[in-house]
């Protein structure tokens, strides 16, 4: 019996174990779940070591040291030592007496990325979207485009009114917010139908694995 066949059988049995959850919680599901969680956590540890820790920290510091030793100059790769230092501070969480030092690393991660995301999101999710929504309300000789542009502009405007938190939704303002809600719900309905199709494809993939790869009932 080849390793591949053993692997397919193990995969099929664990798939059925996870599916048994549909009936109710049971030892078979508990075992499959525990195995899934444990193996995936271990796998991610290994991936993190080989794809992030080693190339981004160790290799870069080694390169910086080599440049210093051979050429006698300080290379910019030494900056990665700061990342390594912040990582060591995070590991100090294992020692309660000095665990508070990890807050510096956390503050750096959350604060720096929030600041960087500010300009990035303002550009991609703000200005570029506004530019894309500035459309002519009347396009001569093209009724379809005219209607489409009016729908986009009105829908975006009313959607923004819905997310305006400083004023209560009453009167004309409330009416516009209600139109915004309609636009949102119609969009969510379309997304729901579209996303369900992709979920179905995941299920089809699993069924194909069971009936084709495992049981060889379908070609």
């Amino acid at each position: 019996m080849s390793g591949e066949v053993v692997g397919v059988w193990i995969g099929a049995i664990l798939t059925l174990g996870i599916f048994s959850f549909l009936y109710k919680d049971n030892p078979f599901y508990k075992f499959s779940e525990a195995l899934f969680v444990g193996v995936s956590a271990g796998y991610w540890f290994v991936v993190t070591f080989w794809q992030y820790f080693l190339p981004k920290l160790i290799d870069n510091l080694a390169l910086a040291y080599t440049v210093l030793a051979v050429e006698g100059r300080i290379d910019y790769h030494w900056v990665y030592i700061l990342g390594g230092g912040l990582g060591i501070l995070m590991l100090l969480r294992l020692f309660p007496s000095v665990g508070w030092l990890s807050r510096w690393s956390l503050a750096f991660i959350v604060g720096t990325t929030a600041g960087l995301q500010f300009t990035r999101y303002l550009e991609s999710n703000g200005i570029i979207q506004v530019k894309g929504t500035i459309l002519p309300l009347i396009v001569g000789g093209d009724l379809n485009t005219t209607i489409g542009n009016i729908v986009i502009v009105v829908g975006t405007f009313c959607g923004l009114i819905y997310f305006f938190f400083s004023k209560e939704h009453r009167g004309a303002f409330g009416g516009a917010a209600r139109i915004g809600v309609w636009f949102l719900m119609i969009t969510f309905g379309a997304l729901f139908g579209y996303t369900v199709m992709s979920r179905m494809s995941l299920l089809i993939g699993r069924m194909d694995y069971l009936f084709s790869n495992w049981l060889h009932l379908i070609g």
Binding site: W44, L106, V130
Partner: protein, 415 residues
Amino acid sequence: MRIKRLFGIGFLPVFLVLCIFLFLQSDFCPAQEVGEVDILEESSTPPPAAPTDVKAVDTPNDNGHSITVTWTLSVDDGAGLGNVVSYEVLRSDAPDGEFEVRGLAPAGEESFEDKGAKEKGDANYLPAGVDFYYKVRAKGDGLFSDSEVSAPAHAYGQWYHTGKTPVVVAVLAFSTFALVFITLARKGKKLYIRPLAGIEAVDEAIGRATEMGKPILYILGLGSADMIATIASFTILSRVAKKVADYQTQILIPCNDPINMAVAQETVRAAYLEAGRPDQYKEENIYYLTSMQFAYVAGVNGIMLREKPATNFYLGKFYAESLLLAETGSLAGSIQISGTDEIAQIPFFVAATDYTLIGEELYAASAYLGKEPILLGTLKGQDWGKAVVMIALILGALAATFNFQFFLNLFRIQL
């Protein structure tokens, strides 16, 4: 007589030779004609005229490893001989040194960007601050002509990207609005925030868990700590944890990311401290599960069915696991409050949970719950920013309808 005979005898070979010559020149012998004509044309066609006025300048708004070369088209490009097929751009580090080809531009093109790599070890490395000389070669029909060598040019990086000026204006505007309202909030001015249904249910949900003696399950989502939705979820967690500490209810937070786990532990510890119950904080209730998406969902589903939490919070970044979590929570009989900015997952939360915070409501929830001046002022600043955007939309639509390009150009960003 002799002349006639001589002429007659001599005339025939001459006539034959003349006929043969004329026959070869005529349309009745196309194959031979093409070859001969080609040979004749190839040898007589001059090369295309060289392009003129070649200039090399640093490429603006870049990282300092690119030079842009411009030239005036060859007179034989689309006119004159009309035999320009392409332009070849060559570079050297000395005006009389060896030139290497850097790239091609098609006929009709008047510029070329010589992009280089910034890493010294890269074969395509273009160092900043080093003078380079360029010439442009007009090519066509296997022939070419070189232009004069350009003046030296060197690449250098710019500190400010002029193409992103609209972003700078927007950042300054939003920041100004936020700072003004934060200042007003700190001075005690009441800032009105309209009620949000999902947030008003938080107290009720936590109270339900306390009455039933069951824990609260808080899911931070699958985003990392640098994502906005996750940061918003931490802020809400702080408020929820403080209430949980007040009510002495248990809170379980299985995490998908180790950094999220660390931040969540600090947040909840601080909340318990603020509530005056530091001894009731249990670090083992906030733990790392796994980083793999569906393994995490399998683990959380197991927790839901075994621990049977009274209340589930799904606040953060979610993907395909959203419906799996929400349906299992519904099966376990929990009251569920969800919120995400992931548009594709909002419909599933709307369908399967009791209360849903849609998109920006998740960000506003933290301000609404805590009523802290910084958060309230920031939210008010965002609202003013939104008002500016709404006005810009109306004005922009009118400008686009009447084709006022000036207004449309205000939003042009160079990527």
